[in-house]
Amino acid sequence: MFFSYDWIKKYLPGAPELAEVARLLNETGLETEVLKGGVEVEHTVNRPDAMCHFGIARELSVKTGLPLHEPEIYEEPFKHLDGWRIDSTDAVGCPQYMGLLIEHVAATPSPSWLVRHLEAIEQTSHNLLVDLSNFLLWEFGHPCHAFDADRVGGQQIIVRKGESGERLTTLDGRDHDAEGLLCIADDTRPIAFAGVMGGENSEVHSGTTRLLLELARFDPSSVRATGRRCNIHSDARHRFERGVDPERMEQIVRRFVQLLLAEQPQARVVGWMNMDLKPFKRTELLLRSKRLARILGIELSHKEVTDLLVSMGFAPQERDGGWWVSCPGYKVDVVREIDVIEEVIRFAGLDRLDTSLPAMAGSDYDAQSIAAFEDHLLKIIKEMGLQEARTYSFLNPATEKLFGGDADPVFLRNPMSESQAVMRRNILPNLIEVLSRNVRHGNKNLRLFEMGHVYHGQIEPHFLAITITAGNETEGWWEPSNHHPFLVLKGYVMQLFDEMGWPEIEVVSRPCSYLEEEISLGLNMGGASIGFMGMLSNRILGHFDLDQPVAVCEMDLSMVRAQPKKKRPFKALALFPGIQIDLAFVVDLATSYADLAGAIATANLPNLEDVQLFDQYVGKALGSGKKSLGFRFRFRSSERTLTNDEVMQSIDRLVSQLADQFGASLRS
């Protein structure tokens, strides 16, 4: 909101220069920037009192101690307005309504001072009657409205909810259904939306001679409801939603008359109606000096506090170990002791506070928190060589459906766009989107992961997703990277479980809607399914415009975390030398690694310490339909040095067993 420096000075003749004004306002909590001829202020919602020039001047006056100059007003007593009726069916929506009737007015052009003031804040001049109410809005921040009194039917002002079928065309030319909205009505129809905007049907026009000035209090929620439904963002709504000063209303009416008569001396005040269903009463409370010091951590001098309270209008009385204050109407959200404390320190200055650290007794500290768990996990995954990504928690419903499964996902009622309309049940879709975008930008060898909440109805499990592309290009000069991405992924998953000390994981064949049929595996832990890994199906690759194979994995960390950690008994270091033997078995292509490894494990070779696959080979030398799997066996006894003979006996037994079982022969 822009405020003219010259205009502010009308109420604070000794105001410091513009830059200083801005600095002072910033110090009191109004975010202010200097612009040409004035200041731009960004108000927090609790500061309707500073949404006008007088309010800005008042703020500066309290801060600087400079005297505040009250503008002149019309002093003659108002007569009661006979022949008019005012009524309200909603004391909450409209607790107070002032209506002042003035005759012999004319919608003449405004005088130059008024035009100048309005133009200084980029408001357009219309005519004197309209301009004056606009001027008052910017002087005191309390919106008023001028009706053409001859267009108010039946000389009646009724504040009521719009009825079924009633409509109102507002001053901006838009037509609205008025049903259920708080209206100002005459004897037959709505003529304004209370606190939001007037209607065309009662608007002041060039022929207006009798004017009914409205100054009222409206309930913020009622004003918000109307504004929201009609989608009207008016200056009036903006202020009524935040609150107006109930103590200055009559003064504003009198100010209007004063300014009007100065231009149109022939105008005559006929009288006014003041319906006050809920008279404003100041909140009285005790500000305890001990409490003040306890919250702030510093002691302000008694005199300083008293002076501040006086200048803010709290009318303090010193007793009961503090100050009894009555909270002025313009401070709309100051109704408690803590609010008064805020007002005091706001003007005393936050730079006065000490900087000390609290000496505190210990408090709860969960060393096993989810955060600690996830930080540990992040560290390990990063060490393994994966790159962390962060994607949105929402995505477009069509993509979500490809991954989510049958039940309904959680939809947003008011998404910013269709591409962000549904909450994710899997991390993968958005992560694959990231992968795809990276591929389009020419980035290669992508090994991405993401961790975070997913949304399953009422619960939010923490998931981990990993995506890996095949690297057709070597990453460094020393190594080819022609591993199948699935095996790279599987290696990461297995290593992760080892590093985290998680219990054994079981990998089983399990179909999954987004995975290629033959490479679709389920991950089980403690008998429960915790996730999937495999290769993305062609349908999904096509959906994301990907032209290369992608290995993915997604698992439910909440389920993993719920499992007890794997026991890790200490193993004594063997004292005796071991014997290492490499053997390559030639088998049919259809025989899997797991077939051979399983047979080796169940053969129970004595003293077999470890066995590892060290080579897989397929080539002409073996003949078609054959492959060779090379295993490295290490034998060791904890009690003695083994002899070659006994180890070879075991090996011979194994070789003949594998020959029987799989037709395996030793590769020569």
Binding site: L296, M360, G362, Q387, E388, G476
Partner: protein
């Protein structure tokens, strides 16, 4: 070879002179070959020639040749030129790039989050977690923001239905924490939050870190002291902080904290020539909030603060556009090693 005029001392002298003339590994190598080389080596030749010697001379000459061989071998071994000085002249090209282990990367938001959490953990703050789909109660009512409050319109909230929404702040975690813990307590709640906003500095999803300290005598000065220590942890020991009064529904009094611009001495683009950068919002916990969780506001007081992790990351890592965080371009992710 004729051994008639040969004697050991001369042979040794001659070798020592040649050895002394060696000034690098190449000449040493040539000398070694000329004595011990398998084809043309002098001593090798002698040993071969011994076969033709008369039987009676063999023992003496053989002994002397062996002495020569041992002496030559020893002297060659002891020579300073016995080893190549420059690795470049060996078969290994040490200028090849080293074989680097494949390290992954953490997202810059995680890196920043860790920097923040590290600070607060060192002061004994617990770390809280909570749901991202919140009830209106925990996001608003319990935080002193009833339906009628104007702040509720401004929050620009994503709603699921009338009762559930995407949390607009992590403060709900603090409420849940207070419901299940008794003061004194200190905790932080880092996490995702959502607001309907999307431009170069706003993202519909972003991350916050909020903190809460409650105890019998917590003051505004403690808040300021804590924040000053925090600002210095983040931006260096000479950082100065400034508090400006502000408004949040759940704190009273409320303030915004600025830090002295860590990037300039006299105004720059980042601080918009003001020398100050706005970092976070804070304040003393509003008594209404305590009442909602069953604490007695006369018995305890507390402070709370909250900041956007993206904002801190953008400032400290020099990232110009918030959207980069969520595009996850590998060229972006690769940039923050060592950050």
């Amino acid at each position: 070879m004729d051994f008639t005029n040969w004697n050991l001392e001369q042979a040794l002298d001659s070798f020592q002179q040649k050895l002394a003339a060696c000034d690098d590994h190449e000449s040493w190598q040539a000398l070694r070959l000329s004595y011990l080389g398998k084809k043309q080596g002098l001593i090798t030749g002698m040993l071969l020639a011994m076969r033709d010697l008369p039987k009676e001379r063999k023992p003496l000459v053989g002994k002397q040749v062996n002495q020569l061989k041992q002496a030559v071998e020893q002297a060659l071994k002891d020579s300073p030129h016995a080893e190549a000085r420059s690795l470049r002249k060996s078969s290994l090209d040490v200028t090849l790039p080293g074989i680097r282990p494949k390290c992954g990367t953490l997202h810059p938001l995680t890196i920043t989050r860790h920097r923040l959490i590290d600070f607060f953990r060192s002061y004994g703050y617990d770390v809280g977690e909570g749901p991202e789909i919140e009830t209106t109660y925990y996001n608003f009512e319990a935080l002193n923001t009833p339906e009628s409050h104007p702040a509720r319109e401004e929050a620009d909230t994503f709603y699921i239905d009338d009762d559930r929404l995407l949390r607009t702040q992590t403060s709900g975690v603090q409420i849940r924490y207070m419901e299940s813990h008794q003061p004194p307590l200190r905790m932080i709640a880092p996490g995702k939050v959502f607001r309907r906003d999307d431009d170069i500095t706003h993202s519909p999803m972003f991350h916050q870190l909020e903190g809460l300290v409650v105890g019998p005598d917590i003051t505004f000065g403690h808040l300021k002291g804590m924040l000053q220590a925090f600002a210095r942890h983040l931006f260096g020991p000479n950082t100065v902080i400034r508090l400006r009064p502000s408004f949040f529904p759940f704190t009273e009094p409320s303030a915004e904290m600025d830090v002295s611009c860590p990037f300039c001495e006299s105004g720059c683009r980042v601080c918009k020539q003001t020398r100050w950068i706005e970092i976070l919002g804070c304040g003393m916990v509003d008594p209404n909030v305590f009442e909602h969780v069953g604490y007695d506001p006369e018995a305890v007081s507390g402070f709370a603060f909250g900041m956007g992790i993206e904002r801190i990351a953008m400032l400290s890592l020099g990232i110009p556009d918030i959207r980069l965080f969520y595009q996850n371009d590998r060229r972006f992710l690769d940039q923050f090693r060592g950050a």
